[in-house]
């Protein structure tokens, strides 16, 4: 055990000095490939995943995805008649929720920052914008405070509309309403060659509106994610859902306020414009509702130990001065090399 200490310290130093953005890029790429094409290798992780692994990615082709986003089953399951909804027959809804929780607890919102294919697409659009040297937009603080509420509204709709359907108040054509307007439905099947979700369904007014809304939001998604980092995540009902459940999650973002100089470096790099990450020096559990746990803040923090990532109580990645300087100088070297 003792002999391993220096090795462990070296490992920790190596981890803390990692070029996080690069690491995240590869993880995102791998999970993107896995969740969009894993089905071809007969991988099936079930239908309770806390990320946008779209169910529509399976239909019409050879079942391309390696798993399914939980929002679809949730909405369908909730659309049961009310008299059966609160009986033992509906116990499977709870078990579904349980499985979903298990998945989620393992990674907390890192599902958003590292795994979610829709998040990855947004990061790629950001990379494209960076490549063509267009500056990014930011919301003003008041816009931000207003916009961040939308995701809770969407989450409420994802529950209330199916309940309404179950009791016959709402047409069945609004089944899984969030999926109908989700850009994931339109975009993700594209990667396995399915263009059918770009269609506008003229069957009825409802379908016209919903399908048109779907592609309209997709259009906004593409433009928005191009000019604003992680544009869609501000509105994502899954993000809101995950945050509400995040208390017992194993992966945690911790802040030691006494070490923080409030230099704002973390806020500077935050895709989600979370100001509290820099300004809040009291809260130890610093993960905000918009947070995607992309951990860029930890990598951008120059104060040793001020920001930490813990897994089941064990620190796995920590802000260090040496790590910061290493990353910083790597950036400058890269700049010199590109000259």
């Amino acid at each position: 055990m003792k002999a391993n200490r220096p090795a462990l310290a070296a490992l920790r130093a190596a981890v803390n000095g990692v070029d996080l953005n690069r690491f995240r890029f590869w993880v995102q790429l791998a999970s993107f490939a896995f969740f969009l094409y894993g089905g071809y290798a007969a991988v099936n992780l079930g239908s309770h995943l806390p990320l946008f692994a779209c169910v529509y990615n399976r239909v019409g082709t050879a079942g391309a995805g390696a798993g399914v986003c939980y929002l679809m089953p949730l909405q369908l399951q909730l659309a049961r008649p009310w008299n059966t909804l609160f009986t033992g027959a509906s116990l499977f809804i709870l078990t579904g929720l349980g499985i979903f929780m298990l998945w989620f607890l393992a990674l907390n919102k890192a599902w958003c920052g590292f795994v979610c294919p829709l998040g990855t697409i947004q990061d790629w659009l950001t990379a494209l914008r960076r490549f063509v040297r267009i500056r990014y937009s930011v919301y003003t603080q008041s816009q931000f405070d207003w916009l961040k509420k939308i995701k809770y509204l969407l989450l409420a709709l994802a529950v209330l509309i199916p309940l309404g359907i179950g009791n016959g108040y709402i047409t069945r054509e609004l089944r899984a309403p969030i999926c109908q307007i989700c850009p994931g439905r339109v975009l993700l099947p594209l990667f396995s060659g399915d263009y059918s979700h770009w269609n506008i369904d003229f069957t009825s007014t409802t379908t016209v509106v919903m399908t048109a809304l779907g592609v309209l939001i997709t259009g906004l998604f593409l433009v928005g994610a191009f000019v604003k980092k992680r544009f869609y995540c501000f509105f994502c009902p899954m993000s809101a859902f995950l945050f509400l459940l995040s208390k017992p999650a194993l992966l945690r973002l911790k802040k030691d306020g006494s070490k923080c100089t409030r230099c704002g470096d973390c806020y500077r790099v935050c895709d989600m414009q979370i100001k509290a990450i820099a300004d809040d020096v009291v809260t130890a559990d610093i993960m905000a509702d918009d947070c995607t746990l992309c951990l860029k803040c930890v990598a951008a923090c120059p104060e040793t130990g001020a920001l930490k990532v813990k897994y089941a109580g064990l620190t796995i990645f920590e802000a260090t001065e040496t790590g910061f300087i290493k990353r910083c100088q790597k950036e400058h070297c890269r700049a010199n090399a590109s000259r």
């Binding site: 069957t203 379908t207 000019v227």
Partner: protein, 215 residues
């Protein structure tokens, strides 16, 4: 400390294990169970079959799967077989529920082709994309074939076989890819332009100095 790392790995692996179990419990999706070989493969080449004097078989569309459904506008192909062998010049008639009918003759491979017509014209508000319509296919051999019916030779009447099936309205009737693409492009163009204009024209106090890059 080494234990800590081990615990991390174990904890990370837990949901995976749970998922693997769940995966075992689940029935396999239908499309993975399907093992029927495609009709155009050599294994399904015509072969004599005495038990079937005359029959109509719908030929599978390329890439057809278990949940396949016919739609109006689809081309549908039937093969007329006598004792398992294709019949040329058999008269094949397709009659829809509405009474529309069309005749054709089979080709050298015993095939007859039809295009399912659209004959579902409800008012737009009542349109149901799951509206199911049936049709009937009747095949007659042009040259009556000598055969025995109830131990007596039958040389007069035409040899006839029927087949019924159903179809749905074509997605083209109610969905439009062009519109979808159009909306996306329109929104993208509109959004992009407005962002561009907003950035160019906005004269907020703190934006009065902008940087223009160029090397």
């Amino acid at each position: 400390m080494k234990l800590d790392l081990f615990a991390v790995c174990l904890l990370a692996a837990l949901p995976l294990l749970a998922a693997a179990q769940e995966h075992h419990k689940q029935p396999k999706p239908a499309d993975q169970r399907e093992t029927t070989p495609a009709p155009e493969s050599p294994a399904s080449a015509p072969r004599p079959l005495d038990s079937a004097p005359l029959e109509i078989v719908r030929e599978k569309a390329p890439g057809e799967k278990a949940n396949f459904q016919l739609c109006s506008g689809d081309e549908v192909v039937f093969v007329v077989l006598r004792r398992g062998l294709p019949v040329q010049n058999a008269r094949v008639r397709l009659i829809t529920q509405q009474g529309w009918a069309k005749d054709t003759l089979t080709d050298a491979h015993g095939r007859a082709r039809f295009q399912l017509i659209r004959d579902y014209f409800p008012p737009w508000g009542e349109f149901n994309k799951w509206a199911r319509h049936t049709f009937l296919v009747v095949a007659e051999t042009a040259a009556p074939d000598a055969g025995n019916i109830q131990d007596s030779s039958d040389t007069n009447g035409p040899n006839r076989a029927t087949l019924s099936d159903s179809y749905y309205p074509s997605p083209k009737d109610y969905s439009s890819y062009a519109w979808g693409l159009g909306i996306v492009l329109l929104v993208a163009a509109f959004g992009g332009t407005s962002v561009y204009l907003y950035r160019r024209r906005r004269v907020k106090p703190f934006k009065e100095v902008a940087f223009h890059e160029g090397q």
